[in-house]
Amino acid sequence: MAIAVIAILTFGFLDFAGIIDNPLLQKIQFGPALFSVSIVTLVCLIAGTLIFGRLYCSVVCPLGIFQDLFNWLSKKFDKKKKYGYKPEQPWLRWGVLAVLIIAWVCGFTFLVGLLEPYSAYGRMADELFRPIYLFGNNLLAIISEKMGSYRFFKVVISLKSITAFVVALLTLLVVGHISYHHGRTWCNTICPVGTLLGFFSRFSLLRMRIDKDKCNHCLACQRKCKAFCIDSANQKIDYSRCVDCFDCIDSCKQKAISYGPVKCTKTTVKTADNVDESKRQFLKSTLVIAALAPAALEAKVAGTKDTRVPMSPPGSISHKNLLQHCTACHLCVSKCPSHVLKPAGMEYGLGGIMQPVMKFDQGYCNYDCNLCSQVCPAGAIRPITVEQKHSTQPGRVVFNKDICVVNVNRTSCGACAEHCPVQAIHMVPFQGGLTIPETTPDLCVGCGGCEFICPVKAVHIEGNPIHLEAKAPEQDTNIQTQDFDFGF
């Protein structure tokens, strides 16, 4: 089941042909659900954890399943692979979470996105696995074209952003390495979702239990536990770290471990109490720092101004909204059929690294396409209809007549007006029979068609930090609709 989940979810990132239009599995991920404040999903996930424990980490979280694959591989190469018991690192776990909360409050969402497991996996899928998939498709297309079939078509493979590629590669190497050698250590020390769900799984209804009478302290289960959470000597299990992989059940020859409803809570409550102290301190200090820091950082972000204002995708409402919600999973980037959405570098400032930004060097935003707004699981790009998109202005056109070819070369062009779906750029009479662009920025929907096609980049789109409304164009009346002949 876990393999099916990861396969379908990954395909959601790879799929360029629109086979899965509304990826559901992406929407039930904890991180995005938290950021989009989708109460129903959150309640279901937390309730699920309270009942079943951290089953989420084994069958829903793609990064978790991905680590299990590495772990499984490592066992193929090292048949005698053993784990053990290690005490919990509450300071580290809650420390990471605290830092992330502070970072988010300060508008430094980049860090949150970096460690949020679903987004980390999404970036790996988009930046690393997708090019491989596309390459395979292109080979298939070449072969099928040779055989006279145009059933498969070639697609453009490009590096969308060096930053995102490097981050994805590092994530793959670090998480891959840790999971290969140390099981689920990442999930139980770094992963913020692991920490949060671990908090709830302490109290889960169904859990692993050691039958103290049957257990002969053979340590078999402890050696098998990739979460390092079974203390076989003391017959204790740290439920905050157990990810419900059930490896221990199979390992126990005495049949002393089983998964079922909790009976006696004495021991577990004790461990929970021990941890609570440190946790409370963390939360306190987190809140204090979080309360103090944002003002200082906001001033810094405002200070870093580029000459060009970046454009966030339609539906994202404003740069601020994007910054608050986007964990940079790059689902929108992978889905954008026109290759317009790219992971940002420093366009939005430090906090917005890797969040989607519209770039028009490879294409322009299709007037009737709203795919990115439909797939975003985190509420960073809100779902908008095509009609709503037509009246949204994420950026507006700027025309530089001094370098326009019509003005400079005195030849006709009109490529910008040709590509404008709303005639925010239209051609007006110039010298002789020539026509030259004229802009009506209020009509502009910021699709970037003009910027993309302009041979000298005399037109470009300037982003609106807070999206505006695009006015509806007035209808032309100067058309002869009847009484015409051949005309020659």
């Binding site: 299709n366 070369n409 029979g433 005309g487």
Partner: protein
């Protein structure tokens, strides 16, 4: 297939294509002057009004002497419509799909060995192919829809007669076919003022920005000298009269119910241009410079009096 085999196949295919296209070029060169004078009562240009796309095509071909005048049995044919925009047929941004379907049927009946249809679209290609209705019409009619969104489908060719455009990357389908039929849709165009048969050639090349920076009208005329189509069929069933070439909404579209067909590209654009300037009176025919540029290249005549024009109202 290992890499060596793959390279071998590639080399063989490349060689084959080269031999084929050079052989074909000779044939094309000999048929270059498409402005043949009227022969045995067959029209040089057919102008049809007041019909549905398919029946206007039938009427036009009857006047011109049948599709057999232009293609032979066993020919590999390419049909090049305008599929530039993500627009439905009602908005007339693209060639009418019914017309394309009827033309495919005609070519099949004439014994065409292979019929390919493509365009280098402006908007996202798959949306254009889908929403224009052309992809579905072509597949239903049993012809092949070819992709034009990817640079590897294009090959660099010389344009010896070009004034501003000396070479261009042209789609392999055009390079490799025996004959091709140009099926533009008549529309207003912000830069070129009108887009029709000559302007439709911008869809056979990869890098269109070069056209815009080197002088649009001259480049359009230049590309038309590369490998002239045997027949030009202008769809003017619905016409984007203003705010072209996309049009903003249905209010830019006029139901004109016309069709023009001729082997002479300059004549057909002249006829369509004069027809068009009745509908959009803001545009002067004289300002559509690429048409006289085409005449200068010897691609045809703007003097409709000198050729046999048949006008038919259905």
């Amino acid at each position: 297939m290992d890499r060596r085999d793959f390279l071998k196949t590639l080399a063989a295919a490349g060689a084959l294509v080269t031999v084929k296209s050079s052989g074909m070029m000779d044939v094309m060169a000999s048929t270059m002057p498409a402005t043949a004078t009227a022969s045995d009562g067959k029209a040089d240009l057919a102008a049809i009004m007041n019909g549905e796309p398919a029946e206007m095509l039938q009427a036009a071909m009857k006047e011109l002497g049948g599709i057999e005048r232009f293609i032979k049995k066993g020919d590999k044919i390419v049909i090049k419509p305008n599929i530039g925009w993500d627009r439905t047929p009602e908005l007339a941004g693209n060639t009418n799909p019914d017309l394309i379907a009827a033309l495919i049927k005609m070519c099949q009946d004439a014994g065409a060995a292979e019929i390919k249809v493509f365009d280098h679209t402006c908007d996202n290609w798959s949306r254009c192919y889908d929403h224009s209705g052309i992809d579905a019409a072509v597949k239903k009619a049993g012809a092949t829809m070819v992709y034009g969104h990817e640079q590897s489908s294009y090959q660099n060719v010389e344009i010896p007669k070009g004034v501003s455009l000396k070479s261009a990357q042209v789609h392999k389908a055009i390079i490799e076919c025996d004959k091709w039929i140009n099926v533009p849709v008549l529309k207003n165009h912000g830069g070129a003022l009108m887009t029709c048969a000559m302007k439709n050639h911008m869809g056979i090349v990869w890098d269109r920005r070069a056209f815009h920076s080197r002088g649009l009208h001259q480049c359009i005329a230049d590309i038309c000298t590369y490998k002239p189509a045997v027949l030009h069929i202008v769809d003017a069933y619905r016409t984007v009269a203003t705010n072209g070439p996309q049009g903003r909404s249905a209010s830019d579209v006029v139901l004109t119910k016309a069709l023009f067909a001729s082997p002479d590209i300059v004549a057909v654009d002249t006829a369509a241009g004069k027809f068009f300037t009745q509908i959009n009176k803001n545009i002067k025919f004289e300002d559509i410079e690429h048409i006289p540029d085409g005449q200068k290249h010897g691609l045809g005549t703007m003097d409709l009096e000198s050729i046999n024009v048949k006008r038919v109202r259905l």
